[in-house]
Symmetry: C2
Subunit: 274 residues, 2 copies
């Protein structure tokens, strides 16, 4: 899905932080606007939640508001900017604790809070994972995440140049797995086909194409019952287990850094285990 970049960046920033929308209490001259930016964003989110991101057209959003399509362009430069606003709005829904707010003790619990809230927001808005995270909207939702993660990893003993990559890795992992989980649920809902039914419709695969000699490890694991891929519990397991692995790795990095600040700062090199 395409995102902003064409229009005036300053205009988009003002929209993201609601500069103009908050200011004029009624000093305007002309006709009164029927819609505020928040209403449009909410309508767009509602459409995307209900029918998917592909159905979120300017036409459908306007219809949701009972307005003509082109009316939206009075308030918003274009669809790309609307998407930026939607993303930042739902990211802000996580309501991550800021600097003054009460937060869990310890970085591990904080990251788990981050993962939980992010997972919930993806479940609520399954389209979120379809939007590229490069060149993200520089709004309050995005920066609440940035602040929360950086704050969680700052001052726990990580080498300073590792704080940002560590936060980035956690964000990437949690985002990807939460998006996958949410997309799977959405696929079930809008295709009316459960994961099991999807596999059942493809049982011809195992009969006609899967060669056990070519995929011995998969076949063995399948026989042992350990191959759940493409099942809801399996996706949850990837998220939970994987996050645990990542956090254990971070803990090892902290310990290594504390033991010898002069030694290697990053994760163990190759050959750590055979």
């Amino acid at each position: 899905m395409e995102r902003s970049g064409a229009g005036d960046p300053a205009r988009t920033l003002d929209l993201l932080w609601r500069h103009r929308a908050a200011a004029p209490a009624r000093p305007a001259r002309g006709r009164r606007p029927r819609f505020a930016v928040d209403q449009i964003v909410a309508a767009a989110v509602a459409v995307a939640d209900r029918d998917g991101l592909a159905a979120m057209s300017m036409e459908r959003v306007a219809e949701e508001l009972g307005a003509g399509t082109m009316s939206l362009y009075t308030h918003i430069p274009g669809k790309a900017e609307l998407l930026d606003l939607m993303v930042d709005a739902v990211l802000a829904e996580r309501a991550l604790p800021g600097p003054g707010d009460p937060a869990p003790e310890g970085w591990r619990a904080r990251v788990e809070l981050y993962a939980e809230r992010t997972r919930a927001v993806h479940r609520r808005h399954p389209w979120l994972g379809q939007v590229s995270t490069v060149r993200p909207p520089l709004g309050p939702g995005t920066f609440a995440e940035e602040e929360f993660l950086i704050a969680a990893f700052a001052g726990i003993g990580l080498p300073p140049d590792r704080v940002s990559p560590t936060a980035g890795a956690v964000a990437a992992f949690v985002g990807a797995t939460a998006a996958a989980e949410a997309a799977a649920g959405q696929a079930e809902r809008e295709s009316g086909q459960t994961e099991d039914a999807w596999w059942a419709a493809r049982q011809a695969f195992w009969r006609d194409h899967f060669d056990e000699a070519r995929y011995p490890a998969v076949a063995a694991l399948w026989r042992a019952g350990g191959l759940d891929r493409e099942a809801p519990e399996a996706r949850a397991a990837v998220l939970c287990h994987g996050l645990g692995l990542l956090l254990d790795g971070i803990e090892a990095c902290v310990r290594r850094s504390a033991a010898g600040p002069a030694g290697p700062a990053g994760p163990a090199g190759p050959g750590g285990s055979r």
Copy 2:
């Protein structure tokens, strides 16, 4: 981007494994086909590589082949199935070592090979990350990955029920970070704007909207020069450092499992560090 699900799954599977395309050496009755499935897939990949996934329309693919748009539908059920074929084809380009092939010693080196090859394929085909991985194409490219990762993690001392989630976590992390890196490069290319230029166009953000009191950790890290987010080297660091963290976590899991097979199998619980 929408994917298959409407049409006949068996037909799609036959296409993925090229059942029909390989068989008829010329026992056909009617008019000779001008195109093979591989040609169409190659043309579609070429268009997507050059102009992005959004530009990969049936019209443009047909044009690439010098054919009429509707001719494609003789060979392929629809665009969704073509996308499945494209994904599986480029995944197969990694040429991951199979059961008999020579492979690096040790699971760590194998996973690093996987990451390297996956990263390269995303760089070559930046659109790959835009395609959902739920309900993936059940073709040779997908299963080569499955086999390689499962084989890498089987028999290294992981609890059996952790093999699949571990492989899933690695695939999710590598896929997400490689996709982000590739998408960033693509964005630079097709917008003609480097990451630096993109930030420069948004310097108003720091002046008008960024409140240091609200984001103290980000401000501190930025002042310390540790905030590179949205720069090519930063994305590479997230990939490399993050993968190292994940692998260290897996190693810890293996050790824990070896020490006490009766004890907790997964990663350390909460409260491991404050």
